[in-house]
């Protein structure tokens, strides 16, 4: 694709000193260092936003798993990327990774090579917490949130977080400082905000240095949105999210796609 000028560059992973890192391949001669590595996942589509802002006219290829593709759809919908400037190169996940992720769609719509893993429908992580008596459930979450060191890692890695100004840093909503930050409001704010955007990739939980099960929280909220509105983020490009639909237009954020 690079040689045929279908794309100007491809965003993928390369091996650097023994570790896979995101890399923008611009020459086919560099592709020797290309790696597929399931042990490390990066939010490539989020990295692509920055690249697209800098080079809005270039067409760029990006390697996508099922979750990455869902995030692309959300990013197109929210004008963060232009559809005709992105070419998705689909790769499937192994069944092992799909199981670990409890992923309901461990593959993109088209794959270049390999086999589709079977979807996993497993909400036992949420059920485990749901069956606790209310008081214990409250204590469970408060004790998890209390570990937070407010590093914003969950937000920074999230391929569906892209607002130019973040509610988590809005002084009127959440007091600056604090280790832990104000709980539970800090985490609930993010959960509410992600309710119709979370594409359930789980990178947030992987990134959390304190081991807070944030994905569990977002999955719960996502499930509520699915049950109430029948809406699944990242699935249908033409369908608006219910919070956006009900909202006041503040969701229409400036981005290269607009």
């Amino acid at each position: 694709m690079l040689d045929e000028n279908i794309v100007s560059a491809i965003l993928g992973l390369k091996l650097s000193h023994g570790h896979p890192i995101p890399f923008l391949f611009t020459k086919s001669s560099e592709l020797g260092k290309w790696v597929f590595d399931e042990s490390v996942r990066y939010p490539l589509t989020k990295i692509l936003i920055k690249i697209a802002q800098k080079y809005p006219d270039q067409k760029i290829g990006v390697v996508v798993r099922g979750c990455d593709e869902r995030s692309l759809i959300e990013l197109f919908k929210n004008y963060q990327l232009q559809k005709d400037k992105v070419i998705a190169i689909g790769i499937p996940c192994s069944q092992d990774l799909a199981n670990r992720c409890r992923c309901e769609r461990p593959f993109p719509s088209e794959i270049e090579d390999g086999e589709f893993a079977k979807p996993v429908e497993d909400y036992s992580d949420i059920e485990e917490v749901e069956k606790l008596p209310e008081q214990e459930r409250f204590l469970y979450w408060m004790s998890q949130f209390g570990k937070c060191i407010k590093c914003y890692g969950c937000r920074n890695i999230c391929p569906a977080c892209f607002c130019p100004s973040c509610t988590l840093e809005d002084e009127n909503l959440i007091k600056p400082g604090g280790m832990p930050p104000e709980i539970p409001i800090f985490h609930l704010h993010k959960a509410y905000h992600m309710a119709d955007r979370c594409i359930d990739c789980g990178l947030c939980e992987e990134a959390c240095p304190m081991g807070i099960p944030v994905r569990r929280l977002y999955r719960k909220v996502k499930k509520a949105v699915k049950d109430l509105f029948g809406y699944i983020p990242g699935e249908n490009e033409d369908e608006k999210g219910p919070l956006e639909f009900l909202g006041d237009g503040s969701y229409e954020l400036p981005g290269t796609g607009k």
Binding site: G18, I149, M179, M210
Partner: protein, 531 residues
Amino acid sequence: MTNSIPELEESDCILVTGSNTTEAHPLVASRILRAKQKGATLIVIDPRRTQIARYADIFVRQKLGTDVAWINGLMHIILKEGWENKEFISKRTEGIEELKKELENYPPEKVEEITGISRADLRRIAEAYAKAKNASIIYAMGITQHITGTDNVISLANLAMLTGNIGKASSGVNPLRGQNNVQGACDMGGLPDVYPGYQSVTNETIAKKFEESWNAKLSRKPGLTIMEMFQSIEEGKVKAMYIMGENPMVSDPDLKHVEHTLKKLELLVVQDIFLTETAKLAHIVLPGVSFAEKEGTFTSTDRRVQRVRKAIEPLGEAKADHEIICKIAKRMGNDSFNYDSEEKIFEEMTRLTPIYHGITYERIEKDGIQWPCTNSEDPGTPFLHKDQFSKGKGTFFPIPYREPAEIVDEEFPFWLTTGRIGFQYHSRTMSGVSPSLQKEAKEGYVEMNPFDAIQLGIEEGEKVKVISRRGTIEIKTKLSFNVGRNMVFIPFHYFESAANVLTNTAVDPISKIPEFKVCAVRLEKIEEENP
């Protein structure tokens, strides 16, 4: 650290003292919390109820500067109950009788009175620590920054040896070193009395080895520590100073005195990445480089030597620190400072340093290696003192308790302790220029107990005067039950309300570390001026 950060996860009991782990060493904290989740008992002993203290099975506050007393108190109980590890003591240690004799002076009632930790809590802590299969001790500067810093550390070592909690995985005595490379700086010989790898300057064989390699005559006398340097400036013995990546105008005790002393120098050179408060006083400022512009190695707190690689070329006039040093050496007429790469410097160091002998850039291309690593086959050492201590048997040193250098009195009735917050970094040279970090924590504060505030008629957020024998600062209050009665806490990062204007310069007799963690202050309301 005697042990490794990842090993903490498998520990059965973790005693954290003088470490605000989640804020200062979050990745270590995450291992501690994982161990806790797996069922480990977490004990936190700290004058402040830190974030990690909320997760402790046992949390107690000691009075400031009474660490030797509670550690001796724990050992007293352990011996009385027969919870010590007799086999370890007889095989691996010496001096137990002398220790026992000293420990007789620390019955629980007396320790309770000195430290404020109840005898019931002392017993619970002693039992949990001594009976655990693998127990780890974690400490940071809350233990070392005292005139009894060395005594505190020796006491913790005594406690670990008494219970056999050293020389095996997931145990040990684990100081959390600051920054990313304080360990590496010390390993490289950034101390006044040793060459790289802690080889003594007073040892003739070692000195000769370095003389031969460097083709120079070297002194057999240890140099000066920071506090001694400042004293020598006062005495007119030190006339010039070359400071690299350090900002004593914020980070040293008794700042008024620091400023006065630095101004006496005939020549002050500061090498840093920003114009720090100290650099502003310099005659010459040399532009160093940031981590992103650097090649070399960083050594983490668990002795892991890791590669750091340049992401961008040095900006502007900045140069790598070693380049600046070599250029100065050349101008001073020495032409042996010739290294065409960082690797060459590393090779020279490993050749002369037994604990680094087996480490090469090639071997740490992907992942780091923990020293000691003495030859090219040696995989490195996750934990120290496995079959024997470096000197053979481990010696118990009996340590009597000494009071802090400054005690509260009528004039200065509050204890002051200083420390860090997670959003700022040391003297804020770097974190102070980050808008997002500034947003989280833009100014200093004095944390005080709400009951004390009521008594003094002070409200949350009110600006007050904090006064010690050294100076006065004006600072906002933050009321919190995280501190006990009659004590206050100030993060030292902020030049505008610098805690170190107040702190005491009294030092530990051996390590010469100042007592940043204890001094006496009083708080005053700022009277509103009537127009």
